[in-house]
Amino acid sequence: MPQKKYMEVPSDEPRGRNISSYFRTLSIKSKSSDEVGLNHVVPAPGTPVSRLQTLKNSPESHRHVGADSDDDWNANVDSFDSPPPKHIEHIPRRSGSVHSLGPGLVMSQANTSGPLRRTPQLEASPQLEALYPSLTPARESPGMRASPGRDPAPDDLATSAQIEELNALNAKFLRFKKVITADNVNLAELKRLSWNGIPRELRAVSWQLLLGYLPTNASRRSDALARKRAEYTDGVAQVLGADHTRDTAMWHQIAIDVPRTTQHIKLYTYAATQAALQRILYLWAVRHPASGYVQGINDLCTPFFQTFLASHAPDVELCDPALLPRATMDAVEADTFWCLTKLLDTIQDNYIHEQPGILRQVRELEGLVARIDAELVVHLRAQGVEFMQFAFRWMNCLLMRELNLEMVVRMWDTYLSETPLGFATFHVYVCAAFLVKFADELKDMEFQEVIMFLQNPPTRDWGVKNMELMMSEAFIWQSLYKNAAAHLRA
């Protein structure tokens, strides 16, 4: 029975069960679109809505983007750490008792990121440039979605906004769930949904499906997982066993880097985490002698490790893996290894001798930015700034040094939904969107300021929305320029 098989994948237990039962018990009657004054844009769930379309409108109409159920997904959210509520039976409509929801409820939805639909029609460049002023969308407050012509109490508005959000959350979650629990997962459909952000509770299983690690055929999953996990355990036992000559230089390099990986998150300070990362990286390095371990690959491990672990530990950032059952940790570690391997397969050239993949990407980035904002490139050249000086790291660590982990995880939802995977190609377009975001500031800077600015770009306050806007822009640049190789060679 497919449902049963599905339950075996880590993301559905125990947290997944909680959340899905929560959805089953939650019953909220939505206001009609007329009631909330949003009748001009209320797509059926799953209907693509052009983000660009809405952005071109006035700020006022932008607020009504909330009418797109998907766009409500993570509005009002500042923090994603709160665990989902255990159980909600009833939410009084217009009772004003917003607090009965608890802040955790609303916050818990955020992880699932809002959708930025791919826009079917491409806009011309000038129109895109007009978008830049709105790159930092204002956070919507619940009151913003008040229906005109009525003057309800603020609590009432907040409640209805939250109800909308919950229903949007519910709808999105169910759409994912439907795709994921099918006997045979429709990957194209999963990609279409995932491009716009995956609900946190379903992220682990979605990523594993998108990477081709988890078979799309549900009946094959448990066998495949068991085999891969055993294979990993055997592999580790072999390379760390007495019969294997330890590559001490490699081991040592990894041992230096693991304790300085993502140390601002408590999870990575625990010995059990560090030991797992050390094994994962070492086994990968031994099996890929053309590159071996290269600094930065340690960073690429963490989104997988944390996402897979989150299925078992609600407060993943604070979790000490030593406290989890051994079998659980072994599975997380093995899954991380295989998914990291799949990712690195697509960017192996980044890490082999002389790192030709990175050189190519940096060249492409420069060519691309020259098309998007020639003035910026002229300025950088005049200042003696070379793209290699700042973009090398962007490619080597996939912007993980520039963006916080939560943003990176959201970014990977999209990368994993690209065909081919977005880490080699789409990433260059994302880097272009990233650089161009700061174009105005950079054009006023001289060499040293440019380098220092880009070494430490001001992304600390970025939210998922910023990320999603950047993905959308990258998508457009890719659509415009991808097959125009001549553009990039210029």
């Binding site: 040592h252 300085r260 990986t261 590159s291 600094q295 930065g296 960073d299 001798h353 200042q383 660590c397």
Partner: protein, 216 residues
């Protein structure tokens, strides 16, 4: 830091920081340029950059410092930054003998990729870890003098000798450059090819060009 963005300097020296992974290059740099030390600092990918302007003999000397990744794999990328550098800090960790043993390899790297007259200094970092010392001071000192390297032991953690090590390198470069300047002004014939490559970059006229390579 304000001085970093001003044109208020007379000499611009490009310096590279090299040495094995984990010896504390980035923290030496942050201690010198920002008086900061970060226990959780991540590995350097490729190169990172910082500057500080100090005064030597009444002249404002700006150090433009490129901090490089220690891992072998990055050598192809980082060695490109040696060009035009007039000074190099070769860093090892006094508590890790392997990092000291690598020093000759780093010197070879410099010989192959940097300008011939580059001024080099050997820096034994983590002097606060004296109880774990694996490299005797005298041994390193002797090695330094045999190889015409300046030498200090320093601690980025407690800041001991950090300024000193940078100052001593910059002063040595400054002395060499001012001497060279005199030599050149005495010389009236055509410039010899393959002559000294160390140069000073007067500010602000050549600033932009010099920012690129740190040197002509």
């Amino acid at each position: 830091m304000a001085d970093d963005y001003s044109y208020d300097y007379e000499y611009l020296f490009k310096i590279v920081l090299i040495g094995d992974s984990g010896v504390g290059k980035s923290n030496l740099l942050s201690r010198f340029t920002r008086n900061e030390f970060n226990l959780d600092s991540r590995s350097t990918i490729g190169v990172e950059f910082a500057t500080r302007t100090i005064e030597i003999d009444g002249k404002r000397v700006k150090a433009q410092i490129w901090d490089t990744a220690g891992q072998e794999r990055y050598r192809a990328i980082t060695s490109a930054y040696y060009r035009g550098a007039v000074g190099a800090l070769v860093v090892y960790d006094i508590s890790k003998s392997e990092s000291y043993e690598s020093v000759s390899r780093w010197l070879k790297e410099l010989k192959e990729n940097a300008d011939a007259n580059i001024v080099m200094e050997l820096v034994g970092n983590k002097s606060d870890l004296d109880h774990l010392r694996a490299v005797p001071t005298d041994e390193a000192k002797n090695f330094a003098s045999e190889n015409q390297l300046l030498f200090t032991e320093a601690s980025a953690l407690n800041a001991e000798n950090v300024d000193l090590s940078f100052h001593q390198l910059l002063k040595s470069i400054y002395e060499m450059v001012s001497k060279h300047q005199l030599d050149v002004s005495d010389y009236s014939g055509p410039k010899p090819s393959g002559g000294p490559t160390i140069s000073l970059t007067p500010a602000p006229v050549d600033k932009k060009a010099s920012s690129n390579s740190g040197c002509c």
